[in-house]
Symmetry: C2
């Protein structure tokens, strides 16, 4: 499989190349030097997109808390989601225009496509739509804090589907780290009423597991689509992902908020915070695609988990949040997990 | 150092020997076969004492809960501690008598000793005495559930002192596992009011850390004493440890419970549960010594942590305890820690 080969190159060979540089090995061949510099660039790009995703995800959660403090959501969430997809689409097109002006149009960066290439792009958008619709029903069985905890099942489902669908292997230490990531994130979110989660009915559990599988599958499937054509420009790939995102989110407006939009207008209840949130979600979305292209879903999961911790720490200063002992313990476990994941890779 | 050499043999070479057997390697030498069978026996003995310690520690905690349910402690704890030491002493002597009858008295199993050998034995008993006395004062700063949580600092202090004093190394994965063991045990013990621990005053923290260091040091020092003379019979070593335990616990009776013993009698308030607890503590104490001899402090810490989990699970059936989400998450982290510790060893 094409995407497997590329990813293998991306992930496994870089550290060795970096090691060679740091050891000051004798590089007496221009081709080898080029390869090393290429590896270094790839590593830098991977770190950059991961860092961007972490910062954007943290600020995203902080914006949500901020907007909640300012009052309830007065705007239709579906219209905001549609605008997020539209903005992502526009940004991808803008990036493409720049590239076309600089490098000219070629086979890798042209928008022209085949049915065979495009046929898979609606699938992730459709999966997310189903997941978001299910979200409205799960609250009949689980309360909001309980749902926050059950959402951590995402971590496990992503790991399992990553293994099954992308056929990429994690070492034993990395699997252990992944279980710890899930346990640590959940521990950090424990509140005095968290035990209620254990009383979730069978329907609630089934829905939570189905939603975790849908979201894990959408993530892993997106990675498969993007990595399948490694030469294809990421902005073209993003453009197609987001066009279908726009289409399915337009459908969601019709299903859920048609009356509100017709009666109160498309932009009813929008504030400057709403606009900031839309911009932030759009940039985070692009960062996620970049992480899929240059890293993988595992990096994405770690990045968003670390963002969750960062958000809580920043919230202490911004909103006088109280950090619990559970948060401290969860953070310790997540930190050890990140460490184990990184050393687990070298031992493969 | 003598004890290092022996321990190294104990820990690192056995798994390889075991591996050879399971792979069905060609063993064409009687000496090699003897060594392998010896390794197998050592491994069996190590597993047996670890298993015994785990079961005894779990049942110990269950007996404590049971005796508390039946009412408050009516007896003097110091007299019970003294009887525990006395019983351990008697059991060691009984074991020695059997050995003398069977093998005769030799250099390794005779009670006769030198000043140089015996001079170190009072130290662990003295350290435990200081720690137990401090325990009375720490409750001015921390409540009982808070103290249960702070006691997990023991795990970290044991690991650090094990590294510094016994100069034995843990792999990176094993260190990570050790931090996880501490975080997992604490998580499993979280209660709705556990956050109060974070408000512990500086004095409380200092005392908790000093107590953790005292108890860690006592454990590691005992291992050093026992391993320093690997040929010496463990029952002789135990006999000396417990004789000094008796002496220092007699001192504790004088300091703390002199009046109660004089006025109400030595055995006031004893019930059949008290007797069971004394027998259990004595057997656990002997199991700890055996683990120090045939395994090490790290195994001891894991064994008692796993016992904590087992106790809680058994308590669900015995006392209708409610298992919290925190307990489930803590148990997951402890289990992963045990797994990582075991695979961390092989990768050294």
């Amino acid at each position: 499989m094409e995407y497997r080969k590329i990813n293998h190159q991306d992930k496994d060979e870089e550290p060795e190349v970096d090691l060679e540089i740091s050891r000051g090995g004798t590089v007496n061949n221009v081709a080898a030097l080029g390869e090393i510099l290429g590896g270094k660039t790839q590593w830098k790009r991977k770190s950059l997109v991961t860092f961007a995703l972490t910062v954007l995800t943290s600020s995203q959660a902080i914006l949500i808390v901020w907007s909640k403090r300012a009052g309830k959501y007065e705007y239709s969430v579906t219209t905001a989601n549609f605008l997020v997809e539209t903005l992502k689409c526009a940004l991808s097109l803008a990036a493409l225009l720049r590239i076309w002006r600089k490098d000219g149009i070629n086979e890798d960066n042209r928008l022209h496509t085949t049915v065979e290439e495009i046929i898979v792009y609606p699938i992730p958008a459709l999966l997310y739509l189903v997941k978001n619709l299910l979200q409205y029903y799960i609250f009949a069985y689980v309360d909001a804090p309980g749902y926050q905890i059950l959402k951590n099942l995402n971590i496990i489902s992503t790991g399992v589907l990553y293994r099954i669908i992308l056929k990429k292997r994690l070492s034993e230490v990395q699997w252990a780290a992944f279980i710890l990531l899930c346990a640590g994130c959940t521990t950090a979110q424990l509140k005095s009423n968290s035990d209620r989660v254990l009383e979730t009915s069978l329907q609630g559990w089934v829905m939570a597991i189905v939603m975790a599988l849908l979201s894990g599958f959408a993530g892993v499937y997106t990675e498969a689509i993007i990595k399948k054509r490694p030469q294809r420009n990421i902005n073209v790939q993003n453009f197609y992902l987001y066009v279908f995102g726009m289409i399915f989110n337009a459908a969601a407006i019709m299903i859920q908020d048609f009356d509100a939009v017709v009666n109160k207008g498309f932009f009813h209840g929008y504030t400057s915070v709403t606009v900031l949130m839309i911009v932030n979600h759009a940039l985070s979305g692009i960062a996620v695609s970049m992480v899929m292209k240059y890293a993988d879903n595992i990096v994405k999961v770690y990045s968003t988990s670390v963002a969750m911790i960062l958000t809580a720490i920043v919230s202490v200063f911004l909103f006088q949040f109280h950090l619990s002992l559970a948060f401290f313990l969860g953070t310790t476990v997540v930190s050890v997990s990140v460490y184990l994941h990184s050393i687990g890779k070298l031992q493969r």
